[in-house]
């Protein structure tokens, strides 16, 4: 019986694989301040955060790369009657409830410096949040790859003291007690790591960096007005705080991760299969063109593999780079990968 289809055996001909792909994402600080004269910085009338694009955001070519916002906890010493006090409280609470979760009483927990939430310890009560776009982080930030650098000292006009933060132990000792997935702790150095040396957190799947405000020891400000971090946090808007942060950013680097789930179909053409063709040019007056006599081997040339449903609907197609000769002296296994 002539046939054109071959059934795939689900036990032997189909395999599922999972592959993690990584891309390096370098974000230079001048993107966030300078390159486009802030035309790539989008602000909002609600003033809760500002967005950084990789190109002036009015252009259709622009891609959203991250958001910056800031806030403090209700038990922070900064909490009170400062500028946008309620909005800063709300931002902190919102980020904390998503990234840290609730305690047994249902109260929102604060960000913890060493990630050991249950035993208390030092909390990050004043924080700057950098929320990365899904476009950059994809499925997650690769653990141990996150590096961010700032100029933390001096004045807005003369910034000094580059401080580099990295999730130094992220690849091996990341935390798993967040409702938003895994996270690592940012340190200023890989040596001398203690429970009190963390200066921020990076949530790998959520794509959020939480930086403690205390790393800024100089005066801050987007330009003319300046003050310490604490004075700015109480006396300025979130937008001004975000501008100040941008002006001190040197760069951000990380690798993202894409989890690629693939199914590989092993399409096996045995020596006695697929040697003839239904191509209209295969026959001339019903005679096979590639044969002179009955003793000649039939020959066909494969250019395409089609994957079909049981009711013969074509669901997926793969192409070879060049025609592949198939005759009774050859067997071919074509591995066709379908990514999800």
């Amino acid at each position: 019986m002539a046939t054109t289809f071959k059934t795939l055996n689900s036990a032997n001909d189909v395999a599922s694989t999972r592959t993690l792909l990584h891309e390096a994402i370098p974000l230079t600080g001048t993107i966030a301040s300078g390159t486009y004269d802030d035309n790539n910085i989008k602000t909002y009338s609600h003033g809760m955060f500002e967005s950084v694009y990789d190109y002036p955001y009015l252009s259709s070519s622009a891609n959203h790369i991250f958001d910056i916002t800031t806030g403090y906890a209700s038990n922070s010493s900064l909490s009170g009657s400062g500028v946008q006090n309620s909005k800063k409280l709300n931002v902190y609470s919102q980020m904390a409830q998503v990234l840290v979760g609730y305690d047994a009483t249902g109260s929102i927990q604060n960000f913890d410096q060493d990630g050991d939430i249950a035993t208390g310890g030092t909390k990050i009560n004043e924080a700057i949040f950098v929320n990365f776009s899904r476009l950059l982080t994809k499925d997650e930030i690769k653990k141990g790859s996150f590096i961010v650098s700032f100029l933390t000292g001096g004045t807005p006009a003369a910034r000094t003291d580059t401080l580099t933060l990295q999730d130094h132990e992220g690849a091996t000792s990341y935390k798993v007690n967040s409702p938003a997935g895994e996270y690592g702790i940012l340190y200023t150095s890989s040596s001398g790591i203690t429970a009190d040396s963390g200066v921020g957190l990076v949530y790998y799947q959520a794509g959020v960096a939480v930086l403690t405000g205390s790393i800024f020891d100089g005066t801050m400000g987007p330009g003319i007005s300046s003050g310490t971090y604490d004075s700015l946090a109480t006396g300025s808007t979130i937008e001004v705080m975000a501008d100040s942060f941008r002006n001190r950013l040197v760069d951000i680097d990380f690798n993202n991760t894409v989890e690629l789930n693939s199914t590989v179909y092993f399409c096996r053409a045995s020596h006695n299969e697929f040697n003839y063709s239904a191509n209209p040019t295969y026959l001339s007056e019903s005679q096979i063109r590639v044969k002179n006599s009955t003793t000649d081997n039939p020959v066909s040339y494969v250019t395409t593999v089609g994957l079909y449903s049981s009711d013969n609907e074509l669901l997926a197609v793969a192409k070879l780079s060049e025609p592949l000769k198939k005759d009774p002296s050859t067997e071919v296994t074509l591995r066709v990968r379908l990514d999800f």
């Binding site: 071959k6 003839y276 239904a278 005679q287 066909s300 990968r337």
Partner: protein, 297 residues
């Protein structure tokens, strides 16, 4: 001892067709890959030169150098010609499918294409019906004869069809007919019963499977019993069917004005050209039959 060249290791990245994506999106389990087929759409076997002066290694040199097109996602446009598995290697002739206009409906004399008159007004216009053969889309049973497709070996080199039967493993037992569901549907050769499509895909292409065991009214006399044959050699099955216009074409001019043209066929008419594709499920041999739907203006 040199290393083996493994650069030819073949891993192919597949793309989902539009139907594949549609089934995946449905989430009803209809996206399930169960089988595969191999195709050779880009290959022109006329380039196989059995008399190449440099010897047999060069017979297919033109073929293997054929560039291959990227995959595209329209399910009806890919895998148009499939490779076939026949366990025997000593075949020199393979059957084809031929439109038999001797006993079946022939093209209209005036426009030289199979023509379907879609409504009563068109059928009642004698200036139109006088132009030649047509399918009576108003009353299918009044159509002169059905579309007839004969399967067999065109050449009589391995025997005369009146006495030699086509090998059983090459004889079609099922045909697949595809037609744009917006324009028409498939009926049996007597115009008595409408066929049920197996599925209609995202491009509105309806696929009908007609089997010799369950759709007997679609098959005429076969093999050596075939009469009015156009195939000289061993014959397989004879498929006969009619194409009826869709309700849209019958009752409205919308599709004609959107997708068709106007012309004169006795009278001024709207017309839409499309193709009915007939494929032998056993051998994969396929014929595209041009067809024209005509409506009087």
């Amino acid at each position: 001892m040199a290393f083996l060249d493994n650069s030819g290791d073949i891993i192919l990245d597949a793309v989902l067709t539009d139907t594949g994506r549609m089934r995946l999106a449905k989430g009803d389990g209809s996206f399930k890959i169960a089988k595969f087929a191999l195709g050779d759409d880009e290959i022109n076997y006329e380039l196989y030169d059995k008399n190449h002066a440099s010897g047999s290694a060069y017979y297919d040199i033109e073929i293997v150098q054929s560039p291959v097109l990227e995959a595209f996602t329209n399910n009806t446009s890919m895998l148009k010609s499939k490779l076939m598995t026949i366990s025997r290697t000593n075949l020199l002739y393979l059957p084809q499918i031929v439109n038999n206009t001797t006993v079946g409906l022939s093209s209209n004399n005036t426009n030289s294409i199979l023509t379907v008159l879609v409504d009563q007004t068109t059928v009642n216009d004698t200036t139109i019906t006088a132009t030649g053969d047509y399918i009576d889309g108003y009353r299918l049973v009044d159509t002169k004869s059905p579309i007839v497709m004969d399967q067999g070996i065109v050449s009589n080199a391995i025997g005369d069809g009146s006495s030699v039967v086509l090998d059983a493993d090459l004889t079609e037992t099922q045909f697949m007919i595809e037609i744009d569901n917006r324009f028409g549907n498939i009926w049996d050769g007597n115009g008595a019963a409408q066929a049920t499509p197996s599925f209609v895909d995202d491009d509105n292409v309806a696929t009908y499977y007609l089997s010799t065991s369950t759709n007997k009214t679609y098959f005429g006399k076969s093999g050596t019993s075939m009469s009015g044959e156009v195939i000289a050699g061993p014959r397989g099955k004879r498929l006969q069917f009619l194409v009826a216009p869709s309700v849209d074409l019958n009752s409205s001019t919308y599709l004609f004005t959107q997708l068709g043209t106007t012309a004169t066929l006795g009278s001024s008419v709207y017309q839409i050209d499309t193709t009915v594709r007939i494929t032998g499920v056993t051998t994969g041999y396929r014929v595209d039959l041009p067809i024209r739907f005509v409506k009087k203006q």
